[in-house]
Amino acid sequence: MQSFDPRIYAVGECVNHRGVAYGLVAPLFEMAKVCANHLAHYGIGRYTGSVTSTKLKVTGIDLFSAGDFTGGEGTEEITLSDPVGGVYRKLVLRDDRLIGGVLYGDTVDGAYYYKLLREGRSVAEIRDRLMFGEANLGDAGHLGRNKAASMTDDMEVCGCNGVCKGTIVRAIKDHGLFTLDEVRKTTKASSSCGSCTGLVEQILMAAAGADYSPAPQRKAMCGCTDHTHAEVRRAVREHHLLSIADAMRFLEWRTPTGCASCRPALNYYLLSTWPHEAKDDPQSRFINERAHANIQRNGSFSVIPRMWGGATSAGELRRIADVVDKYRIPTVKVTGGQRLDLLGVKKEDLPGVWRDLGMPSGHAYAKALRTVKTCVGSEWCRFGVQDSTRMGQQLERALWRMYAPHKVKLAVSGCPRNCAESGIKDVGVIGVESGWEIYVAGNGGIKTEVAQFLVKLKTGAEVLEHAGAFLQLYREEGWYLERTVHFVRRVGLDYVKRRVVEDATGRCALHERLLFALDGEPDPWAERAAGADHAQFEPIIAAEPVAV
């Protein structure tokens, strides 16, 4: 922000920055931050220009513009023009990515396009419907984003933290908030599951008007660093970083011991990049992965033993029943992933429960392979054309103990009736007469996402290799807490196909690396049932007070 005369700094609309003069408030704030940074000799900020959007109100006319909306060499334009109806829309694309747009007359989709633009993700798959806005994308989840304006102040925006629209608007006005992060910190809205983020951004845009500064495109991992997930992953690989302390030192972390958000991510990046070399740091894992059970609202834990492919036996059921009686476990519940959940186990009872169950860990508590759900398949079902239960068991035995950026769920159906719901899983396999179809990146959670077709295969061995290679790609290149649906959306399905389907040597290598990582990985329950790590399960009983 230094001008040609080094004694003079300048920000705002009087500045010509790399050929651009910004007439808006948001870039001014960004400039001022960088400037302050320099004046304080802090030296970490850099201003590289802003992507801006404006929403103008010209008496009765709505106009929205963002990014490069003039187009030109190498760009494509999609336009919609209805002069009589008073609506005009133009979207400018380059390489299947939205780079700019103008909306006239109807601007409700402005926030949505702006978000696409900032994310810079491929719109190839939604291109044919892009022009008609977000509401037309078959969004089966929270039909967010364009609702904000029509909401009344007492309507709830954030379901996790119970925050109403009025509270957010008031906070924006009273505290002068400009960014999503500030709104999260002050009101807690959108700070848990994140599904209302678009709505909150829209409220921000409406309430703060032109002052709204969008979340930066370059997103730092957390407040402890300026580095992005991608940069951290790259550094871990290229510089062979093996411990959290090394990584923090090398990447010049601002906090000495990180925070509860970056430490688990770092721990995962180290372990997934350097299996058998990097050392696990249990204290940088969320309690569930430290205690190998799911913490519940009252501080007790739940235990879900592994049942391969959802199949069990009289012996296992008897042991489960005995454990439930012996440890007075209050609730037993069948889960959505075809397992039995024992709820309300005291932490100190966990090792005993595991010992008595004599079943492997179900990893229902971990960012790891959870379950492979199966339908009955050709062994019993009159419609089944493939043995889905067996295929599911093979997949589960091959992939269990596999940690990943987030939880991973699979399903195998024995015919296209798809009773195992393969269409909403990270990897879904569907048996057909001539073999198996593989679908990836589905999700049944916060927002239902249908899995996309990856490849059709003949044999079970091929299914194991392709599924393994896809998951290894996700393990190596996914960002922590990014589900496969978000990962595939970010890198593009074409890229995944290139790596997993077209490149046979590369696929084989990915699969090999997965097998190497899983080789010798222990069953955490068996280890702890045998006494490992016992201190965390044993409370200290306070001795009699020492007289003073």
Binding site: Q283, F286, A543
Partner: protein, 115 residues
């Protein structure tokens, strides 16, 4: 009246971790050890909805509650802004290689009263 109890050796608490101390007739106490080996004792109940703080991730001199991720300062026992609320803190000393916690004095309650 001071009421010191012997808890464990410092090395029995994992660095950036905690141990739970059960007190007969009272709420559990969480005894934390930070990366720089400072030791703190606070009631093992999050000011938000009672989550067991001992099970959280410790960073700096704070702990992130395992239930909804509030962050609680170990020395004051208070939640970091924008969250509000405090839990009781207890004086700690290490004597003859043993961590001792004074269950009688409770600065946390005084601080609560002053708020």
């Amino acid at each position: 009246m001071e009421r010191w109890i012997r808890v464990c050796r410092p090395e029995d608490i994992p660095r950036q971790g905690a141990r739970v101390v059960q007190i007969s007739g009272g709420a559990d106490v969480a005894v934390f050890r930070t990366a720089s080996d400072r030791i703190f004792a606070i009631t093992d109940r999050c000011p938000h909805k009672g989550g067991p703080l001992s099970q959280g991730i410790v960073f700096g001199e704070r702990v992130a509650c395992p239930l909804h991720n509030w962050s609680v300062e170990l020395d004051s026992g208070c939640a970091s802004a924008p969250d509000e609320g405090c839990v009781r803190t207890f004086p700690v000393k290490v004597e003859a290689g043993e961590v001792m916690v004074d269950l009688a004095r409770a600065p946390g309650t005084v601080r609560d009263a002053l708020r």
